[in-house]
Amino acid sequence: MTDGSDASSVRGLGVWLTSETPSSPLQARCIQIYLGWLGLARNPLAMLGLAIVVALILAAIFAPLIAPYDPIAQDLQRRLLPPGTPGNLLGTDELGRDILSRLLYGARITLYVVALVVVTAPVFGLLIGTVAGYAGGWVDTVLMRFTDVFLAFPRLVLALAFVAALGPGIGNAVLAIALTSWPPYARIARAETLTIRNTDFISAIRLQGASPLRIVVGHVMPLCLSSVIVRVTLDMAGIILTAAGLGFLGLGAQPPLPEWGAMISTGRLYILDQWWVATMPGLAIFTVSLGFNLLGDGLRDALDPRSGR
């Protein structure tokens, strides 16, 4: 393909994406996504957040290619080297393992935790919240009291109890985090559903004989989705911190896995003389949490019409 036809196909895509008269459902949806993207792209802080998140994902995918060393290979000759040492850009830890390599592989664990929580807690919360809000009556009461029970558990303490009961490990940590993080999503979804259920467009679809399932899934959920997505993105930082906290307490990922929280925990022993051992993973957690928060703020501005633009 020549450069000329490339350019014209790009221009064609631009026209297709900005058309006032879309000719297929796919095009209509793509235009909406494109417009949302333009709104997000106007916000430099959100783009910074997005860049950090994308960098995290790339680091996790390409860790074996980028990392200079095996993250669990020990070299006691080269232990506790300071950052900037040739060959060990961010220094080495107490067992002579390269900290940069461990951080890159640690991104995989962080992303694994985040991804597992994201595909469980918000989905469950959205389902409970919309069903409770739409059904009302005793269904609402039962589901929301059930939610309250979970909301009443302190997150870290419940996570500790879980891990103590089921044994330490990254899987149990994820389970504990997911079990304690869905109630807020259920609450948000229910609140949104209560404002949606009495609108005329829901009355209209009821008048066309739609089943409650069709209404909840096809009409209520899409409207709750944006506030839940925003909330999830903002919660990411908390999820990462909880996972790191469990790792720090020795209840999350187990050695020699390069989990960031566990790395801080071992670095604590050397914090006065070899500060970098604890600081580097701390910086990684800080940066990634900040990235998710910035992205979440940007998404809220782009997705939530009530943020007043």
């Binding site: 008269t21 209509a28 005329d200 467009f201 009821r206 008048l207 004989g209």
Partner: protein, 270 residues
């Protein structure tokens, strides 16, 4: 066998008898509609007029099954309705809502809004039908994949009307279909409704607080106040300004425009 006027098999599309609607229970209960009765003949346009809160919209919502807790009789085509509505009912009676900004799902394209009722009722050939209906309500095929926020108020109301017609109903409940629109668009929508009525052989029950709209659209009307029908008349009587009831007279005076003298003489009827 001649149909008795009470069960009204032949000419009567809709019969309402001794309808009461209450919201809530105990001290805070609101008795929105009280002992209301009227009949609508097939092919007729029947108007319900009254001020805000007079219960006229509640009558429509009770017919549609959106307001719960009504007592009395509602019969469509001679068949009495129970508390729950059937698919056959939805294929007979449809409704157009007051606010076109609130009656279309903001995340659904026009195409989806129009095809969904057909999908629910298992109708085939949805695509051509959607395009034909869009043409019917005066919107071109270029509107088919737009979202509501890309449409004006009048265009939205046309989509809402097309949606109501998707199941080919015989009775259309119109809940102030033009009061949220500006005056020039109001006339367009009213003319569209008149044309659709002729072409599809529809029966209209039109709720409005605007006597001019009622006079333009309807054959007969009932005036409601505080949940009761105070007067039923045909539109000729309205045009000649010959109301029997004081409340109707007051409504007529108020519709002539605001002036302080009239405002001072306004009474509360109950």
């Amino acid at each position: 066998m001649p149909a008795s006027p009470e069960t009204g098999a032949a000419g009567i599309a809709l019969l309402i008898a001794h309808l009461d609607v209450r919201f809530g229970t105990g001290e805070g209960a609101v008795h929105a509609v009280r002992d209301t009765s009227f009949t609508v003949r097939r092919g007729e346009s029947f108007g319900l007029v009254g001020e805000s809160g007079s219960g006229k919209s509640t009558v429509l919502r009770a017919i549609a099954g959106l307001a719960r807790g009504w007592t009395g009789r509602i019969a469509v085509d001679g068949k009495d309705l129970g508390p729950n509505r059937t698919k056959a009912f939805y294929e007979t009676v449809q409704m157009v809502f007051q606010d076109p900004y609130g009656s279309l799902h903001p995340r659904h394209t026009v195409d989806r809004t129009l095809s969904e009722p057909a999908k629910i009722h298992g109708i085939k050939d949805i695509g051509p039908r959607v395009e034909a209906l869009l043409r019917d309500v005066g919107l071109g095929p270029e509107f088919r994949f737009r979202y509501p926020h890309q449409l004006s108020g009048g265009q939205r109301q046309r989509v809402a009307i097309a949606r109501a017609l998707m199941l080919e109903p015989r009775i259309l409940l119109l809940d102030e279909p033009t009061s949220a629109l500006d005056v020039s668009v109001q006339a367009e929508i009213l003319n569209l409704l008149q044309r659709l009525k002729r072409e599809h052989g529809l029966t209209y029950i039109l709720v409005s607080h605007d006597l001019a709209v009622i006079a333009h659209m309807c054959d007969r009307l009932a005036v409601m106040n505080a949940g009761r029908i105070v007067e039923e008349m045909d539109v000729e009587q309205l045009r000649r300004s010959e109301p029997q009831h004081n409340y109707t007279r007051q409504l007529l005076n108020a519709s002539l425009g605001y002036d302080r003298e009239t405002a001072d003489t306004l009474l509360t009827f109950d």
